[in-house]
């Protein structure tokens, strides 16, 4: 009996030390300072194909209660669904910022990157950033958008191309404008693309693309519009039993 008890005690000890080692491992570098707030500087809401690394890094900043940058605060990152953040933890630099790169997971959708830092009292402060991963269809839609749509629908000009957005009487909606576009059904969106704005009592400045793009292309565009909507577009029409 005593032997059994000894065995059990030994096992618990092994387990305990293992667990302790694990939690020690996730602690990361020792914080030299503590902040009161965690804000995103840049790198949120990026759009990329599934599995790929985002073009721009994610930059977060730790501030104190007065809003001044805190150097040397420890920030750790957690990203789910197969997405990865490198480095997964680190200390903020002299400007209070920490820059990490994010690679998306293998499934289309939105990925949340949770950054965590601790204040003086040890309370966790969280910041949730969102990145968008495009599957094959949405990525095809993105390429078509770049070619056919963005000249008018993207209000931002680039060095190579001036946006046509401001030249139009009825200002086109950016595809990220979820507040507006989420209210339009998929059937109506593809109808507007296929038959032009005038067919649905909207501006004739939106020309019909049904003769230029095929059905699969238009479906891909709608899928892209849904994927990048901000606020996100929720799936509709799913009915769940109540028990």
């Amino acid at each position: 009996m005593i032997r059994w008890r000894l065995m059990a005690a030994f096992l618990t000890l092994v387990l305990a030390t293992n667990c302790a080692r694990k939690s020690e491992g996730s602690k990361g570098p020792e914080a030299k300072a503590f902040g009161a707030a965690l804000v995103e500087v840049s790198g949120g809401k990026q759009i990329a194909a599934i599995g790929t690394a985002l073009d721009q890094p994610l930059v977060v900043q730790v501030n104190d209660a007065q809003g001044a940058a805190v150097a040397g605060a420890a920030v750790s990152f957690h990203a789910g669904g197969g997405s990865t953040v490198t480095p997964a933890e680190g200390l903020t630099g002299s400007d209070g910022q920490l820059t990490v790169s994010v690679a998306l997971g293998g499934v289309a959708g939105r990925y949340q990157v949770i950054a965590t830092t601790r204040d003086k009292a040890g309370k966790a402060i969280e910041l949730r950033s969102e990145e968008i991963a495009l599957g094959y269809q949405q990525n095809l839609g993105r390429q078509l958008n770049d070619r056919y749509c963005s000249r008018c629908h993207d209000p931002e000009s680039t060095a190579e191309r001036v946006s046509n957005h401001d030249n139009l009487n009825a200002k086109p909606h950016a595809f990220t404008d979820g507040d507006f576009l989420n209210k339009i059904s998929e059937a109506d969106l593809s109808s507007i693309i296929t038959h032009g704005g005038a067919a649905l009592n909207k501006s004739a400045e939106m020309p019909p693309y049904g003769g230029t793009l095929n059905k699969a292309d238009i479906e891909a565009l709608v899928a892209y519009i849904r994927a990048v909507a901000d606020p996100p577009n929720r799936l509709k029409g799913l009915v769940y039993a109540k028990n």
Binding site: G51, G105, Q143, R151, L168, L238
Partner: protein, 681 residues
């Protein structure tokens, strides 16, 4: 003793008489028979199927989901494709679109793709071990199966097994293939598509046969040591040469260089006092269409067909510069650079302007003593060893055949044959990426040079290489989608001489040959009016004000412009319609007015085009203020009816216009002949 008695009692109970023995043996037999179904019940896939049934139980469409669910082991066998997979045993809901909200695997439905899941199977695209029945064996690499499931970032590689053409939906694969051809990868490595076509380089590295006339040994030395220090965008990789090696190669390159025929143009031009005037020649000639210059903010402005010119003054000799600008083909017969026919003043200004783009620090620390014979001989040996002649033409050195390993089946390489560098995960994609990122980690003596690719470029290259699988070579030929075949189209006679001289094909494509920067000219003869083309060739005005890259002015003589115009109008005629089928003289004022209304209301053309510079603001399409003087009526009519018929890939939407509408719009457009000055008034 106690134990022995107990055993004896049990034995007596179980096998004491024939009745008991029969009963006991029956129980044992039943237990034995139950092992198989029990084992099946506890298999991994069976657990997933049970979980799936539990998952769908509460959903609104549970009944139909349940009806379509097939229990037990599922297998898809496609002998023609070499596919056997049992993935759908666990991935049960592949075709259930209503489960789109489910985020737990293996129950997610497959996202929409252009192919049928049953016809192509899973492992064609995802790799992994199809016949395996456990998650671990199916997804990961094992000793018997080296190809694990392909990571999502390289998925497009799978499309590339059959599709040699450039698909809209596979930007990463397209980029990877472009990089393979542009950065000289395929100059050293043979890379054949499954159809047997060898990929060729799209980059024409300069010949080095006369390099001493062009630049100094000091510059060559600095360039060899670090090409990117001279030009960030240089396609030449870093060969990680030591000081002695770079010294000896530069010595050899100067030594092997010969003089080149400069004909009567040998006279150099006087460089003007104030080179800043040259900026306007640089601008007018639209050098920036092909060449980039780093601006004060460090951003590259300009195209990437020609080399970056930020520090060109530190590189080339002034005499060479003047000769090059006068006639580039004398030095490099295959260059993409046009002959501009500059006059002496323009030449002097431009040469001076470019020569002033110098970086005094570039060569400040390079001091080379005169080369010795030994150094030159060593340099030659190094040039042979490094395969310089794979890309560059050199005197006395032949282009080596198959200098580097064949990459035609790079995507199926056996891991057993690969020596992995320390810290590289044991998978094929990781190996390929690491090899491109840092070849020298795999051995200092490796000949593969160091490129400065971005992580995204490396991913694209790995994707393009992973597409080169052995499986792709054995697939049925009917599945193969060939890439665009290289066109050897060549115009005839004097016109060809002129087109070659001005390198029209660097930017324009005709009959499948040429670049994509400028419009395709295959049917240009049907499109334009003679007078317009003649004056455009003499003085190309800006058709699209929003573009940085535009048609340069080549300073053609009247006779040259005439020759070219005649040829284009006679040869580049579309068979799709008769050029005289629409007589512009028959258009009426009413028709024009109806066309105006259609233009501004029904078709809202002003969204993209400018026809009235005071009120219209469309930036997307070309300005139409003089369109009546440029285009023929027949072309305009047929173009309006179907823009892609005459210009495939054109972004102007096909509006399925009626003949009446198209005719009225044509009448309105053909009336737009005023010059911009008149319009402004």
């Amino acid at each position: 003793m106690d134990l022995k008695r107990k055993i004896a009692a049990a034995w007596a109970f179980l096998f004491g008489d024939s009745g008991h023995a029969f009963g006991t043996l029956s129980v044992v037999l039943v237990l034995c028979l139950a092992v198989v179904p029990a084992k099946d019940h506890f298999r991994e896939w069976s657990q997933y199927q049970t979980r799936y049934l539990r998952l769908i139980r509460l959903r609104g469409d549970a009944a139909s989901l349940q009806r379509r669910f097939q229990p037990g082991m599922q297998q898809n066998w496609l002998p023609e494709l070499g596919v056997v997979d049992r993935c759908t045993t666990c991935h049960v809901a592949m075709k259930e679109a209503t489960l789109a909200d489910v985020s737990t695997q293996p129950f997610r439905p497959h996202p929409p793709i252009p192919h049928s899941l049953t016809e192509f199977g899973c492992v064609m695209c995802h790799r992994g071990q199809g016949p395996a029945t456990t998650v671990e064996e199916a997804h990961s690499s094992t000793k018997a199966w080296e190809q694990p499931v392909l990571p999502a970032r390289y998925f497009e590689a799978s499309c590339g097994q059959c599709h040699q053409n450039s698909l809209t939906g596979t930007p990463q694969l397209n980029l990877g293939r472009k990089l393979l051809a542009r950065y000289g990868c395929v100059s050293c490595h043979a890379l054949k598509t499954p159809g047997g076509v060898r990929m060729t380089s799209t980059n024409e590295p300069p010949p080095l046969t006369h390099v001493a006339e062009k630049t100094t040994r000091e510059w060559i030395y600095a360039w060899l040591k670090n090409p990117q220090a001279y030009s960030v965008a240089a396609t030449m990789p870093d060969f990680k040469l030591g000081d002695t090696d770079a010294r000896d190669i530069s010595a050899f390159l100067i030594d092997q260089s010969t003089a080149y025929k400069t004909a009567d143009a040998a006279k150099s031009v006087a460089t003007p006092v104030d080179p800043s005037e040259g900026a306007s020649v640089y601008g007018e000639s639209f050098c920036a269409s092909c060449h980039a210059v780093q601006n004060a903010a460090g951003l590259m402005v300009g195209g990437d067909i020609g080399p970056e010119l930020t520090r060109i003054g530190s590189k080339v000799k002034p005499d060479w510069m003047a000769l090059w600008l006068r006639d580039p083909k004398l030095y490099a017969p295959h260059t993409a650079m046009p002959r501009y026919r500059f006059n002496e003043k323009q030449l002097g200004l431009l040469a001076g302007f470019l020569q002033a783009k110098a970086d005094s620090e570039l060569l400040a620390n390079v001091h080379l003593d005169a080369a010795t014979k030994e150094q030159i001989a060593h340099g030659k040996a190094l040039v042979n060893e490094r395969g310089c002649a794979s890309c560059h033409e050199l005197n006395g050195i032949r282009k080596p055949d198959n200098f580097a390993p064949d990459l035609s089946a790079a995507g199926s390489r056996s891991l057993a044959k690969i020596v992995f560098a320390a810290g590289v995960a044991r998978t094929l994609p990781d190996y390929l990426a690491a090899k491109i990122r840092q070849p020298h980690a795999f051995g200092k003596e490796l000949k593969m040079p160091q490129y400065s690719f971005t992580p995204a470029q490396i991913d694209a290259l790995v994707t393009a290489l992973l597409a080169q699988t052995e499986n792709a070579q054995t697939l049925p030929a009917t599945l193969r989608v060939a890439g665009q075949p290289a066109s050897s189209y060549q115009p005839a006679g004097k016109a060809w001489k002129l087109m070659e001289d001005m390198q029209c094909f660097s930017c324009h494509a005709i009959n499948g040959r040429g670049g994509d920067m400028a419009p395709d000219l295959t049917w240009e003869g049907s499109a334009v009016e003679r007078a317009w083309l003649l004056s455009f060739l003499k003085n190309p005005n800006t058709l699209r004000p929003a573009l940085i890259r535009r048609m340069p002015r080549f300073n053609l003589t009247d006779a040259e412009a005439q020759t070219l115009t005649d040829y284009i109008l006679a040869v580049y005629q579309t068979p799709a319609f008769d050029a005289d089928s629409l007589d512009a003289a028959k258009f009426t004022a009413e028709g024009r007015e109806r066309g105006r209304q259609l233009y501004y209301s029904k078709y809202a053309c002003q969204s993209c085009h400018i026809i009235d510079p005071q009120n219209d603001k469309g930036y997307v399409g070309p300005t139409l203020t003089q369109i009546g003087a440029k285009l023929t009526a027949a072309w305009t009519f047929h173009y309006l009816k179907n823009p892609q018929l005459l210009r495939p890939g054109n972004i102007e939407p096909n509006q399925h216009m009626s003949d009446d509408d198209a005719r009225a719009l044509t009448a309105f457009l053909m009336a737009q002949k005023k010059s911009p000055e008149v319009a402004k008034r």
